[in-house]
């Protein structure tokens, strides 16, 4: 298998805090990959580095064989990397469907003239985009909420909406930052099914998660970060048995 995402020796510090130091990671196309680690381990920072929010202190990131580090965030998004945020970043005062439509932005064609004049072409495209947006809402299990403000949806629905918005850009890689946080057990099961369904559509998924049960049952590969360093990587069974991981989590030698 080929690596869809390869991260090589990536370091990033904020002042004295070394959030990432020399992290290597390679994610195979078509897999569900988990990044775990204690609070403050640098997991979200890694996502932010991938999507170009931070410039790296050192190291490289390649997506589908091409370097993406140093590119602006919007270009990286257009290359096919979508994400959700640990603390939801929906467009709260826009409707659910508009949120998903904005997700489609990069996939829609249209010149300035189309936008200015509302040409028949633009309107046809708009209708098609709206259809697709509804389909994405259905796909994540959000029916009949299209016209509601994103911020008025229940917490679980907002999490799903964020996933729908990310999928609308038709990414090849989806980064989910703690998608199960705050969900109840039923919702977590549904989320796991959703993630599998996403993968089955050919999207590679990398998720950050604290719920070990969920991670172990859902993911094929796991990487463990601690204090900005990758301390282990492997299949769920290997990670469960890895002494360094147990130590990082329990704070004592196993």
């Amino acid at each position: 298998m080929t690596a869809l995402l390869s991260i090589d020796g990536v370091s990033k510090s904020f002042g004295a805090v070394c959030a990432l130091s020399g992290v290597d990671l390679s994610v195979d196309a078509g897999s569900i990959f988990a990044i775990i680690g204690p609070n403050g381990a640098g997991k979200s920072t890694l996502f932010n580095a991938i999507t170009g929010i931070y410039t790296l202190d050192s190291g490289t990131i390649a997506f589908d064989g091409r370097r993406i580090d140093g590119l602006p965030t919007f270009v990286i998004a257009r290359r096919g990397i979508a994400r959700t945020f640990q603390n939801l970043r929906l467009f709260g005062f826009l409707s659910a469907i508009d949120n998903v439509l904005i997700g489609e932005h990069a996939r829609m064609r249209g010149t300035l003239v189309d936008s200015l004049l509302g040409t028949p072409r633009a309107r046809a495209q708009e209708r098609a985009a709206r259809e697709r947006a509804r389909a994405w809402l259905d796909f994540v299990g959000l029916n009949d909420v299209g016209e509601q403000f994103a911020r008025n949806l229940s917490y679980g629905a907002q999490r799903r909406l964020e996933i729908a918005r990310a999928l609308a850009s038709q990414p090849r890689l989806l980064l989910l930052d703690e998608p199960a946080a705050g969900l109840n057990p039923t919702e977590k099961r549904e989320l796991a099914d959703l993630v599998r369904a996403i993968r089955d559509r050919g999207v590679t998924v990398v998720l950050i998660e604290h719920d070990m049960g969920l991670v172990m049952s859902l993911c094929e590969r796991i990487a463990v970060l601690d204090h900005g360093e990758k301390i282990a990587q492997g299949a769920p069974a290997e990670i469960r048995a890895n002494p360094a991981v147990i130590e990082a989590y329990l704070g004592a030698p196993a």
């Binding site: 257009r78 005062f93 826009l94 904005i102 990069a106 200015l116 633009a122």
Partner: protein, 357 residues
């Protein structure tokens, strides 16, 4: 009479906004357009159309600023600069000053392009700034542009340019009456409102809203935020350039003192009054504030003079009066009179969190 026209227009646009059926909407709009077109042939008081034409220019300006502030959420306090650029474009291209006499209609295009370009020139270095910082830089730009005209002797310095060409259409000169300008502004408003409406429903319009709501998230959707913001500045500015040409042609002169900071504030107040982001709100807000200054206050002066036998000139206090209106709006209806759905919820929530925290 003027109040009847304006109130009837406002009523019509509000009804259009509230009706669902597309046919009914189009029918009402057609009837409105027809009525507005016929009125000058029935009512021959030129003063009325003088006031309405001036108000019309401000409706165009407000619709342009609405793109920048209402749609994209970029606080621009120097918008009058683009108005000035449009007006001076007419002054330079249609006056004896330079011996250039291009047709009015051609200058409309040129001025819109120049103002749009100026929008990009202002936007490019400043768009990394946010909120208050952006507001301050645009405020500076708004002050600099009239200053530059004031200090450039070639465009008449503080005196500006006078004796501008009187426009003509189909070989007929506009003459001294206000009615032709009234028609031009009607057309201008129709064009600009139509474009603004298209934009609001387009991919570009949604990108502006995304930036307004959460710029970082917008970038993650593949939106080139810099270009998208520049587009807002350029399009908003070009509307203002059109307004400037009409304004200058009607007045027959341009001078730097016509484009002071107050003008920017006035246009912004129109948005706040009507409801940012809402086309209907912006049209109504700008009509109301324009009329307040040019018709209502003088009328009240006359009433006060005849009943109380004191001579006051309320137009001297118009900024005080705007201030009171704006404070009242902020307290009781922060989303403006006729807001759109998104902005209503947002501005209302923002005002409530601010007062309760």
């Amino acid at each position: 009479m003027i109040y009847v026209y304006v109130l009837a227009t406002i009523a019509a646009v509000v009804i259009v906004e509230r009706t669902r059926s597309r046919r009914v909407k189009l029918a009402i709009l057609a009837a409105l357009a027809l009525t507005l077109a016929i009125v000058p042939f029935v009512d021959r008081t030129d003063a009325t159309f003088n006031v309405l034409a001036d108000a019309g220019v401000f409706v165009m300006l407000a619709l342009g600023l609405n793109i920048v502030v209402g749609y994209a959420g970029l606080l621009d306090l120097g918008y009058a600069a683009f108005f000035a650029i449009g007006a001076y474009a007419y002054g330079i291209l249609a006056s004896p000053q330079f011996g250039v006499h291009l047709p009015f209609w051609a200058i409309l295009f040129i001025a819109a392009a120049c103002a749009g370009l100026a929008g990009i020139v202002l936007g490019a270095p400043t768009l990394r700034l946010h909120g208050d910082y952006l507001a301050i830089v645009t405020l500076g730009f708004g002050e600099i542009v009239p200053q530059v005209f004031q200090n450039t002797q070639a465009v008449g310095g503080p005196n500006g340019i006078a004796a501008l060409d009187v426009p003509s259409a189909l070989g007929h000169s506009f003459g001294t009456a206000a009615v032709p300008y009234y028609f031009v502004t009607l057309g201008g408003i129709a064009l600009v409102a139509w474009v603004a409406r298209n934009l609001g429903r387009s991919r570009l319009g949604r990108a502006w809203m995304a930036i307004r709501e959460d710029e970082l998230a917008a970038k993650h959707m593949g939106i080139d935020t810099t270009r998208t913001k520049l587009a807002a500045f350029a399009i908003g500015a070009s509307f203002s350039g059109l307004g400037g040409v009409i304004f200058a042609a009607k007045l027959g002169l341009v001078s730097p003192d016509l484009f002071q900071f107050q003008v920017s504030v006035l246009i912004l107040s129109m948005l706040v009054l009507g409801g940012m982001g809402s086309l209907i709100g912006v049209v109504v807000g700008s009509l109301v504030l324009s009329l307040l200054n040019s018709a209502l206050l003088p009328n009240i002066n006359a009433v006060i003079a005849s009943t109380l036998h004191v001579n006051v000139d309320l137009t001297n206090y118009h900024f005080l009066i705007y201030g009171v209106i704006l404070v009242a709006i902020m307290l009781f209806r922060p989303e403006g009179f006729l807001p759109n759905r998104e902005r209503r919820a947002e501005l209302h929530a923002a005002a409530i969190t601010e007062t309760s925290s």
